[in-house]
């Protein structure tokens, strides 16, 4: 399949006020693949996600989603166009119940696809089904992460942005998450994953980028990164 990339980030420069965070970042996510961006704390990984979803739009550069230039679009239009976000720290709505969290995120699939429904997502996360009426604030960390992913799924986007999804999760839940995102990818979803957890990224992703001080300093196959001790030591501290 030689379709165009789902997401193209082309030389974006993003500022927080005066501070120059992203200094010319370019990357691609192909349809049905997982791209991971690795880097230490504070190198601009979350800013990258925020730039793509237009929370902090880039000052220069271009972002193309499914052949449409979305650089100047507002966040909600980008989301409506088919981009889902699993924010850092599993930010679900704690004052809403689990069901209400899913209800507000639901969006019909486009292009005649069957897509995810609340019911089919609950088959994926049976534990959430038992907690439908509970306030989301009472869920455990792992359950909140499941809800955050489930919420992104019922939005039926074709690209999922995940900001440090493994943060604070037990190894067992991390493994479940890894299997889940591989299944989503095999179902045709494109995923842009931002992580500090190198092993998780290497084991899940199809392509990896390493970021440092607002720039991409390495890109290649996960096996290339695994073999490259220089990059790992210099930029990832292992």
């Amino acid at each position: 399949m030689s379709a165009n990339p789902t997401l193209v980030v082309d030389d974006i420069h993003t500022y927080y006020g005066e501070s120059y965070v992203l200094q010319g970042v370019s990357l691609k996510v192909e349809p049905g693949t997982i791209a991971a961006v690795l880097g230490r704390n504070g190198v601009g990984k979350t800013t990258l996600i925020r730039s793509v979803i237009a929370f902090t739009p880039p000052r220069r550069g271009k972002i193309v989603f499914e052949n449409q230039d979305i650089t100047r679009w507002t966040s909600y239009r980008i989301a409506q166009a088919g981009m889902g976000l699993v924010p850092q720290g599993r930010r679900i709505f704690i004052s809403l119940s689990v069901r209400e969290n899913l209800e507000i995120a639901r969006r019909a699939a486009t292009g005649g696809n069957e897509g995810w429904t609340i019911d089919s997502v609950l088959d994926l996360f049976p534990r959430l089904r038992e907690r439908m009426r509970n306030s989301a604030g009472t869920l455990s960390g792992g359950e909140q992460q499941m809800l955050a992913v489930a919420r992104a799924l019922v939005g039926n986007g074709r690209l999922l942005l995940m900001d440090e999804p493994t943060e604070g999760l037990s190894p067992h839940v991390v493994e479940e998450l890894r299997q889940l995102i591989r299944r989503l990818r095999d179902g045709g979803m494109a995923i842009l994953l931002v992580e500090q957890n190198i092993n998780f990224a290497i084991e899940s992703a199809d392509y990896v980028y390493v970021m440092d001080k607002g720039k991409i300093v390495f890109d290649g196959l996960p096996s290339d990164l695994a073999a490259n001790n220089d990059v790992k030591e210099t930029y990832l501290g292992v």
Binding site: F55, Y76, P87, F93, I94, E100, I104, N134, R151
Partner: protein
């Protein structure tokens, strides 16, 4: 399921008890009960903005007073019947909110608080200074109580009959607002209160949701303002004053923001306190202030949530 059941039984019991009380109480006390219901609608309307959407307004009297004035002017100066004058006041408040929020929605949180205060003060000064239309400081006396026409077997001239009229409007308003906040639209408002950005990431046009919420809120505030105006057959600039705005905000905070019954409870407590305290002292506002400080310190989520968590729901933070 069980919980919803409990809620509807509670609501029905509340209406029956209040309805029965109106039959036994003296006209004076029935008048107080009527005021509670009117402030109840007013407080619920503000809670749509403040409690559900997270837009704290210190100028909600603007719509309360505007509804009252427009409907009074339509019936006194233009001679419109109740069936036209009452909707006119509601439409006026809705249109005012729609225009004002084109500007006001550029602000949020405490800045929204300030700009709503400014807006209500502008309306207040118009009411004071445009004497030919509004009667200035003297206000507009002599508005007749609602008359639904000769087909309707009751008139509302007596306090008791008017009480039942207000009770009916209260029930309809509470039901309408209940349906509104329990709809997906209402969930979205709560999502916006918690985090606007996350709602944008879910594809919500946050601006449009806030815009609609502010118009709905203003419309019900006008309903309350009109009922208040018809209760006294009188409207004056004080109905647009910052005191009224602050009082209704306090009712919500005392009762429990983000619930529908909490503001009604707060309105009831407020009217009773005002009545009881003012027979003993002129400084009754001071005592109410102390009580408010106590609530803010010991039950910051409001009396209703405090009572519910203490006696009915052992689970922390369960969904309402």
């Amino acid at each position: 399921m069980r919980k919803n059941h409990l809620g509807s039984v509670g609501a029905l019991a509340f209406i029956l008890i209040v309805g029965a009380l109106g039959n036994f109480l003296s006209p004076y006390d029935t008048g107080l009960l009527t005021q509670m219901l009117i402030y109840g609608v007013f407080a619920m309307s503000l809670d749509v903005l403040h409690g559900y959407t997270g837009m704290p307004s210190l100028g909600h009297a603007a719509y309360f007073g505007l509804g009252a004035y427009v409907s009074a002017i339509c019936s006194l100066k233009l001679g419109w019947p109740f069936g036209m004058a009452a909707p006119a006041g509601i439409v006026a408040a809705a249109v005012a909110a729609a225009l004002f929020h084109l500007l006001a929605l550029r602000t949020s949180k405490s800045y929204y608080l300030m700009i709503t205060l400014a807006f209500s003060q502008v309306l207040w000064s118009v009411a004071v200074s445009w004497t030919e239309l509004t009667g200035g400081d003297n206000g507009l006396p002599g508005v007749r109580r609602p008359n639904l026409g000769s087909w309707f077997p009751w008139t509302f001239a007596s306090t008791h009959n008017y009480f039942y009229f207000v009770l009916a409007i209260f029930v309809v308003s509470a039901l309408a607002l209940y349906v509104f906040v329990k709809s997906p639209f209402g969930y979205a408002l709560r999502g916006i209160r918690e985090n606007e950005m996350r709602m944008r990431a879910l594809g919500y046009n946050v601006w449009a949701y806030k815009y609609v919420a502010s118009i709905v809120s203003a419309s019900f505030a006008a309903v309350a303002g009109e009922m208040y105006m018809y209760l006294n057959s009188f409207v004056s600039p004080s109905s647009l004053s910052v005191t009224v705005s602050a009082q209704v905000l306090m009712m919500i905070l005392v009762g429990a923001a983000g619930t529908l019954f909490g503001p009604v409870l707060g309105a009831g407590v407020f009217v009773i306190l005002q009545y009881v305290l003012s027979t003993y002292t002129d400084r009754w506002l001071f005592v109410i202030g102390l009580i408010y400080v106590g609530i803010a310190l010991y039950a910051p989520q409001g009396a209703l949530v405090f009572i519910r968590d203490k006696f009915f729901a052992p689970k922390r933070g369960s969904a309402s």
